[in-house]
């Protein structure tokens, strides 16, 4: 029983990382139909931002460097996303498969760039001392860094919910998501909304990157490890729905850790994949389906 509870905690912890990554993807994928394969590399650059700040501020300012890196990574990754949107993605609207391939090309270039700037070897990010250690509740060992990530992901999901559900910017985003032409005809500047959404979505990848530094070392391939699972979250959750993304991220995280526990790490991924294919037989549009008159 304790073993299972421990696996559940590991699953929730992995799920909350997936959620952080998938939130950004839900925005860009849901609103613009853009599959951004470079999202993983924005995570990676978010993680490297933490590393750079630590190196710049020195060993005695670990806490400041870490907390400061959350907003800075948001801006760094967001700016990279904005640049990508303006230079390439803007030209490719309505060609989702081509966007996928082009952004994969961008991902390759960014990975090599990171390798050239920071070296091919992984670098270590020192955790603030208040994230070391953990507590044990009902036999479950909860490391502080994992609890922090769960909390961060809760806070960011809440913030995203406020932005999308309550603010003017979010209302525009939803309008564009539901019907781009009609939104444009009603006076919404859709290209500007697209740019903001992309900035926000990519920025969240940067924040996810900062969180991931607490779990292991940082390397040029950091993003690729998470990106496919995050896309699966978006597919299972349903396009552009926060609620779907939350449920899907947690379910996939838990399923992942349980499947790996009961079989092996390598068979676990296959089991998760099969479960997703079976799930999509019953709900092809994901957990939360959009009401639409389209034929898709």
């Amino acid at each position: 029983m304790e073993a299972i509870l421990n696996q559940l905690f590991a699953g929730v912890s992995y799920g909350s990382i997936l959620l952080l990554i998938a939130l950004g993807l839900t925005f860009t994928f849901g609103q613009m139909g853009v599959i951004n394969m470079a999202h993983g590399e924005f995570i990676m650059f978010g993680a490297y931002t933490t590393y750079v700040l630590q190196e710049v501020l020195g060993k005695d300012q670990i806490t400041y460097a870490f907390l400061l890196s959350l907003p800075i990574a948001l801006v760094v990754a967001g700016a990279m996303g904005l640049l990508l949107e303006i230079t390439l993605i803007k030209r490719l609207y309505g060609r989702p498969l081509d966007t996928l391939l082009v952004t994969w090309g961008v991902a390759l270039v960014l990975q090599q760039l990171a390798r050239d700037i920071f070296g091919a070897n992984n670098v270590e990010v020192v955790s603030p001392s208040w994230l070391d250690g953990g507590i044990t509740i009902a036999g479950v060992d909860m490391a502080y860094n994992r609890l922090f990530i769960i909390g961060l992901s809760l806070a960011i999901t809440a913030a995203a919910w406020v932005v999308v559900g309550k603010l003017k910017q979010g209302r525009r985003m939803r309008a564009v998501m539901q019907n781009r032409q009609l939104a444009g005809a009603s006076g919404i500047n859709t290209p500007s909304v697209d740019r903001r959404t992309f900035f926000l979505g990519s920025g969240l990848a940067g924040v996810a990157g900062v969180a991931i530094t607490q779990l292991g070392s940082v390397g040029p391939n950091l993003g690729t490890n998470y990106i496919i699972d995050a896309f699966l979250v978006v597919i299972v959750g349903g396009l552009g729905h926060l609620r779907g993304a939350v449920i899907a991220a947690l379910s996939l995280g838990i399923l992942n850790s349980l499947a790996e526990y009961w079989s092996s790490a390598s068979l676990g991924k296959v089991i998760v994949f099969l479960a997703i294919v079976v799930f999509l037989q019953f709900r092809p549009e994901g957990i939360v389906a959009s009401e639409s008159r389209g034929l898709a």
Partner: protein, 375 residues
């Protein structure tokens, strides 16, 4: 001349010129390359020829069917592992002897049940095609039946390739994990894989296989089925409303591409580096395969072949001269071709042709711009 014999003769000028090109390229590959290239280069070229067969399948599924297959490495790997297991057993004198890596690892006492049937050459060869086709047909039916398409399908195939790679890496005792299976010291049909003279024969086999695959694929696309596949790519719902089963049409194309990838994998372990490992089947190799086709021109079969061979040659040249630049080059190629020249080499060829012969005699309808349905 009988009507039947006449049907094999080209009827238009365009037909004549495409047949002449086919014969010309066949002569280049069958006679010029073996005479001109060094033994090791020719052996590498054999593996590019095998890659070109994967590219044909991607051109059918993606270029003509609109299904972006990002998991071809899986089917390629299945074909390759099926034949590699046979070769690994031949190397040690057949079952019940253990393959070399198992003896070295000391992990197994007797030959595992999975390996036993692969002692038979014909079983291994047919499994290399049947397993990928059956898997693709099953998965394809499940996926297309629930009308999962576009980017969703692409991501699912990619996740599948990723899961397969991880599965292989995790199975050290059964199929040697990350190290994969080397086949250099084995033989097939009495041909020794390490012998330069026999390598030339294997090269010819690869080229002939590519030629046959090309002609069959071309016939498939020219048939009534090919027109339906194009129709599904451009307006799937309309095809369905006309009473066709879009699912069936798509499953056939997907399974065909998987079968071609399986054949390619089976040939791949016989030539070139003579090794199959998770490094050539996962997510990254799978998407690399799509780059070849994108460069060649996604809907064009000839373009796919040209793309596979040219990109691989470029990769070899660039990464042996300056390895750190290859990834930049590959990324730039990806971005440049897909974003700015979606018709690839085939598009460039059509454009050149129309410039030279200003008579407007361009019968190339198959390179018409693919219209993607917004997801």
């Amino acid at each position: 001349m009988s009507q039947f014999a006449k049907s094999f003769l080209p009827s238009t000028r365009g037909e004549w010129s495409s047949r002449a090109t086919f014969v010309g390229v066949a002569i280049l590959f069958l006679f010029v390359f073996p005479a001109w290239l060094s033994d090791s280069r020719l052996d590498l070229m054999s593996s590019y020829v095998a890659y070109a067969i994967v590219a044909l399948g991607i051109a059918i599924a993606w270029g003509n069917g609109g299904m972006l297959v990002l998991g071809q490495g899986l089917f390629f790997g299945l074909g390759a592992y099926c034949v590699a297991m046979y070769l690994a057993l031949v190397e040690v004198g057949g079952a019940p002897n253990l393959p070399q890596f198992m003896t070295l690892l000391g992990s197994q006492e007797t030959l595992p049940a999975l390996w036993k049937p692969f002692n038979n050459l014909w079983f291994a060869l047919s499994a290399a095609v049947i397993v990928p086709v059956a898997l693709a047909a099953t998965l394809g039916t499940l996926i297309f039946r629930s009308r999962i398409r576009g980017p969703y399908f692409a991501i699912l195939t990619q996740a599948l390739a990723g899961a397969f790679g991880i599965l292989l890496i995790g199975n050290i005792t059964l199929i040697n994990g990350t190290n994969g299976i080397t086949t250099s010291f084995s033989e097939i049909f009495g041909l020794k894989l390490a012998e330069p003279e026999d390598q030339k024969v294997l090269y010819t086999i690869c080229v002939i296989a590519l030629g046959v695959a090309f002609l069959l694929s071309r016939q498939m696309l020219k048939s009534r089925y090919g027109r339906l596949l194009l129709a599904v790519r451009d307006a799937e719902d309309r095809v369905r409303f006309l009473g066709y089963s879009a699912t069936k049409i798509k499953v056939i194309a997907f399974a065909t591409s998987a079968g071609l990838a399986g054949v390619a994998g089976a040939l791949f372990v016989l030539v070139g580096p003579k090794i199959i490992s998770p490094a050539s089947v996962g997510i990254i190799p799978s998407i690399t395969m799509v780059v070849w086709v994108a460069v060649g021109g996604r809907a064009s079969l000839a373009g796919a072949i040209a793309g596979a061979i040219l990109v691989n040659t470029a990769e070899f040249e660039i990464s042996s001269a300056a390895p750190e630049y290859w990834l930049y080059f590959q990324g730039a190629l990806f971005i440049g071709v897909v974003a700015f020249a979606p018709q690839g080499l085939a598009g460039a060829a059509t454009w050149l042709k129309s410039k030279i012969t200003s008579r407007g005699d361009s019968g190339a309808t198959s390179t018409a711009k693919p219209v993607e349905e917004a997801a």
